[in-house]
């Protein structure tokens, strides 16, 4: 599904990614771990097209297409989704308005007919039930006045509604208490399927107790320095990143 080959990227004049190689197949969950500053969030930003980063070398293929050539909205249309580390507040726009605009933009990209208000609501209500989201969430402005946990759940909720092929979770566990983290993890697990791949970026092992990965990669100074199974996360927990 996703092939990253020799990816180099910088922010301003600082080289952050220095040759990332990674292949992610449908149905797999990959965890990317690493200390602060290792390039985890930069990788997420580059994959989704944030313009603060410039790619200096390498390529990224998503289902055979050159992902780096696409605008952020095209990537979303193709099925790439980023759950933000810091979800953005948009006062003045209700969650339901935003979600419907989003779903219809993605459907349009795929050549599918847009959903009218009634069929959209039906889809959304069903997803809310699965994720145990409060009903009033739809009417509230996007992320405004949400607690940290609510914001992260809202990201997962958007993910559930948009049904992407590749989900990238950028430190979705940061700032969450254990209950909120479990709720988020349950939401993510409900979305695991053989057609969908996930990249879970995290600093801590604890999230991986709940979202169990197929592969764990250790990122250090812009490169993947170690790859293993889920056991690698436990090893890192015991010995720290410096043990590499």
């Amino acid at each position: 599904m996703l092939t990253i080959h020799n990816l180099h990227a910088k922010v301003a004049d600082k080289n952050i990614l220095r040759g990332i190689n990674l292949t992610v197949n449908a149905g797999e969950v990959h965890a990317i771990m690493g200390p602060n500053g290792s390039g985890k969030s930069t990788l997420a930003g580059v994959l989704t097209g944030r313009d603060a980063y410039s790619v200096t070398d390498g390529e990224v293929l998503f289902e055979g297409k050159n992902l780096l050539d696409m605008a952020p909205e095209e990537r979303a249309g193709e099925g790439v989704f980023l759950a933000f580390q810091y979800p953005v507040e948009i006062p003045g726009v209700s969650n339901s308005y935003f979600l419907r605009a989003s779903v219809n933009a993605v459907r349009k990209h795929r050549g599918e007919p847009e959903l009218d208000a009634a069929s959209f609501l039906k889809v959304v209500k069903q997803k809310m039930k699965v994720l145990h989201m409060p009903e009033d969430l739809l009417k509230r402005p996007v992320n405004e006045g949400f607690s940290g946990g609510e914001k992260k759940r809202n990201e997962i909720f958007q993910m559930a509604v948009l049904e992407p092929k590749l989900c990238i979770l950028d430190e979705t566990d940061s700032g969450l208490d254990i209950d909120a983290m479990k709720a988020v993890a349950d939401g993510v697990n409900a979305l695991r399927s053989k057609d969908r791949a996930m990249i879970v970026i995290t600093h801590y092992q604890r999230l991986l107790d709940h979202i169990v990965p197929d592969f764990v990669h250790v990122l250090s100074q812009g490169r993947i320095v170690k790859t293993g199974g889920k056991g690698l996360a436990l090893e890192l927990e015991a010995h720290g990143y410096s043990g590499n």
Binding site: E73, A76, F84, S102, V103, V106, H109, L162
Partner: protein, 404 residues
């Protein structure tokens, strides 16, 4: 600066017009002759030049008939300055309303005449027709009344002087929508007078949707009695050169005024909002929020004056002006001006100027919204604060449609 562009139309106008307001017109013409035209050297018109108004040869408009969709509610229609009875619809029960030409309102047409604006004097110099709505004491009107002014020049630029008189009696309640439309090049010089009686509630919405080659100068003047409650939303969408003046004067205690505005300008539009809140009496509250969205090379001006007179203790006045600039070439001049002579008051003001937030744009795009749609949605989010305060659903939908 030359007034003949307008004064040379007096004689032809009088030939075609009833003499009911002849004396009022005459004294207004004397005032117009005496008052200097505003220039950019003066503080109140510093950023708005009226030169195009003096250079365009305006004609008196011809009587024309226009097709219009049937009214959904009570409506008064004026085409090229003339009352169009056939396009208008019946007024709600208990309300005295119609054309000024048919109602003797000479005794109550006094509110705006106090202003030393030459454009107001010019409007009165052509007074004959206009919308008159009188809601007697205790009458509560639930359906909004719409007043529609349309300009249809026939080849040559025209000038009209729309006039609205709205009087809400003691404890009366009413909602009035004032709407301006047109095609081509023309000048609308409007005056609206609103008297809000003791304990009365008036909700006023002005939708300025003039053509993009029109000139629009309007003085909306409100006088409030004790315990009156007035809300105004000034929605300025069209026009090449626009000046919206809103003046509120508290004439009794414990009254409350909400004076909001939203202006959207693109291309080379120039939109000047000038507001004066005169706290002449104690214990009154005013809330003012103006928001502007300026694209391309548009130029916006906001000048918000608040006077708190010496006796007006316990005044509570709030003023906010926020502007969103969508391009590097758009400009805004914003100036709050508070003059406070009482010592026990609450007065706050604030102005912000910003651009679309890059992080919010990326967030929306990462969810599939194309850049242009994301920009429009964030623009709507900015304006929504004002849109949501408009109580009339159809107007909210109209604004949403326009922005998104």
């Amino acid at each position: 600066m030359d007034k003949t562009n307008f004064t040379n139309l007096f004689a032809a106008f009088d030939r075609d017009t009833s003499s009911r307001y002849g004396a009022l017109r005459q004294s207004a013409r004397e005032r117009f002759a005496a008052l200097p035209l505003p220039t950019t050297r003066g503080e109140d018109w510093r950023f708005t030049s009226i030169a195009p108004l003096l250079e365009t040869p305006f004609d008196l408009p011809a009587a024309v008939s226009v097709p219009l969709p049937p009214a959904v509610g009570p409506r008064l229609v004026f085409v090229n300055g003339r009352y169009a009875k056939g396009l208008s619809s019946p007024m709600p029960n208990g309300v005295r309303a119609g054309s000024l030409a048919d109602i003797d309102a000479i005794q109550i047409l006094q509110i705006a005449s106090e202003t030393d604006s030459p454009f107001t004097a010019l409007n009165s110099s052509f007074l004959s027709d206009g919308a008159c709505i009188i809601v007697p004491d205790g009458v509560v009107v639930e359906t909004p009344i719409e007043i529609l002014f349309m300009s249809r020049p026939n080849g040559k630029p025209i000038v009209t002087h729309p006039r609205v008189l709205l009087v809400a009696g003691k404890n009366a309640q009413t909602t009035v929508i004032e709407r301006y439309l047109g095609d081509g090049v023309y000048f609308t010089n409007a005056v609206t007078e609103i008297a809000v009686g003791e304990g009365a509630v008036v909700d006023h919405v002005k939708v300025q949707s003039e053509s993009d080659t029109a000139y629009h100068i309007a003085n909306t003047q409100i006088v409030m009695a004790a315990k009156a409650n007035f809300t105004s939303h000034n929605l300025s969408l069209g026009g090449a050169l626009v000046r919206n003046e809103v003046r509120v004067r508290f004439d009794g205690e414990h009254a409350e005024a909400t004076v909001n505005g939203l202006y959207l300008a693109k291309g080379k539009q120039h939109v000047d909002n000038f507001t004066v809140i005169d706290h002449a009496k104690p214990n009154c509250a005013s809330h003012e929020i103006y928001k502007g969205v300026l694209a391309d090379r548009a130029h916006g001006v906001f000048n918000g004056k608040i006077f708190v007179r010496k006796d007006a203790q316990k005044t509570d006045a709030k003023q906010t002006n926020k502007v969103l600039l969508l391009s590097d070439d758009a400009t805004i001049n914003t100036k709050p001006q508070l003059e406070i002579f009482a010592d026990d008051v609450k007065c706050t003001h604030g102005a912000t100027i910003g651009q679309l937030d890059a992080t919010q744009l990326f967030y929306l795009r990462s969810r599939g919204l194309p850049l242009e749609q994301a920009r429009r949605l964030l623009t709507f989010a900015f304006a929504n604060d004002i849109v949501n305060r408009v109580k009339i659903e159809s107007i909210r939908a109209e604004l949403e449609e326009r922005i998104v």
